[in-house]
């Protein structure tokens, strides 16, 4: 369940994002579960559609949900994705603990993901 409290200072999109993320972490929402449509959630919580859309965008860029066209938004699927996300979280925590800034740690990942030249 998502509780939106208009009396707290946290922006509404962040309240939604944080609660959905927490439910995924707690396993209340599982891979394949469909989230309510942006319009429906906006009507339920009496907020603008854009606010919910922003929360969903942020969840999507964090890899927690995926949008499958008109079918709606779903909690991201396979165990591989979940494991990859967990590995990414651990990496970010580790490099931040080492004092590396975000752009430098991202550059490392980019270099590792870049196709290797043949024969090297």
């Amino acid at each position: 369940v998502i509780v939106l409290d208009p009396r707290v200072s946290t922006p509404p999109y962040e309240q939604i994002r944080a609660q959905i993320a927490a439910q995924i972490e707690r396993d209340d929402l599982r891979a394949g579960d469909r989230l309510p449509t942006v319009r429906r959630l906006a009507q339920d919580l009496r907020i603008a559609v854009n606010t919910v859309a922003r929360a969903y965008r942020e969840l999507e860029s964090a890899g927690l949900i995926e949008t499958r066209g008109r079918a709606g938004s779903f909690i991201t699927g396979s165990g591989v994705e979940q494991a990859a996300r967990q590995a990414a979280i651990e990496y970010v925590q580790r490099v931040r603990a080492l004092g590396l800034d975000d752009s430098a740690s991202l550059a490392i990942v980019r270099r590792l993901l870049a196709p290797r030249p043949r024969g090297s």
Binding site: P6, R7, D44
Partner: protein
Amino acid sequence: VSIWFEIVLLILAVTAAVWSALPTRRRLDRAGEHFGRRYRLWILPSDTRRVDRALRREFHGYAVGTIAAGSAYLVGRLFAEPLTMFWLSLGLQSVVVAGLRARAAGTEFPTVINEPLVARSRSVGLRDYLPTPVLGLLAANPLLAAGAALFAAFSSLPDQEARSVVVLGVVISVAEATIVGAAWALCRQPEPASSLPNLYLHDAWRARTLSAMAGFLSVVIIVLWSRALASSGDAIYLVLLALCLGLVVGSPSADPLHFRRRLWPDLASDEVVVVGNAEPSARPT
């Protein structure tokens, strides 16, 4: 003389139908108590008024549908026979009532501005409110109505009788398909709630409305088939009809708490949800 007699009879019938559903204090109390018992709700006095208002709105929808059907009957009688017009207006009444209910869904129990709002974090659909056999019946009903029309078209019924059943079959299959669409649309309406009990109240109300729709549709199908088979006199059809009757009448009322198991799995089966100021002990999925 005959048309005036029919008009008077119609006005009396519409008045009686509306009168019999008038939301008097006693009827509201009884309906509220039945709703609470059936869906394991304890409605505190602070919220009784909201449930009464929802029941009254339901009555208004029924009255509008009945009056619309009566008016349509009167106009239609200029062009068609009484029995066909009776069925046409019954189809219209059910479509109007279902449409109004679908339109009103989610607005029955309004929230207070500036209070925290609660919403479910996963999408819900018809299968969350209705058990699988009832869903199957809902999906099959337009086909059953079309089947009755086909049966009548190729049966040995007298011409006029067969024509009448074919018209009814077509009208009812369209009405049934429209109502199934309304039921589907109803599930997509918002459920603005200010607390978990409030959300549970929305769910229970929605399950009640959908169950009533399914029951009504099924009864119409039975009446249609019994009309189509009335003159055939074949024993096997009558046995099939009796079987359908049992299935159709039994299923919608069989499992009122289906929504609770689907949407509120943490609630104990005998736990009563207090609607008012208290929170239920369980969280919805």
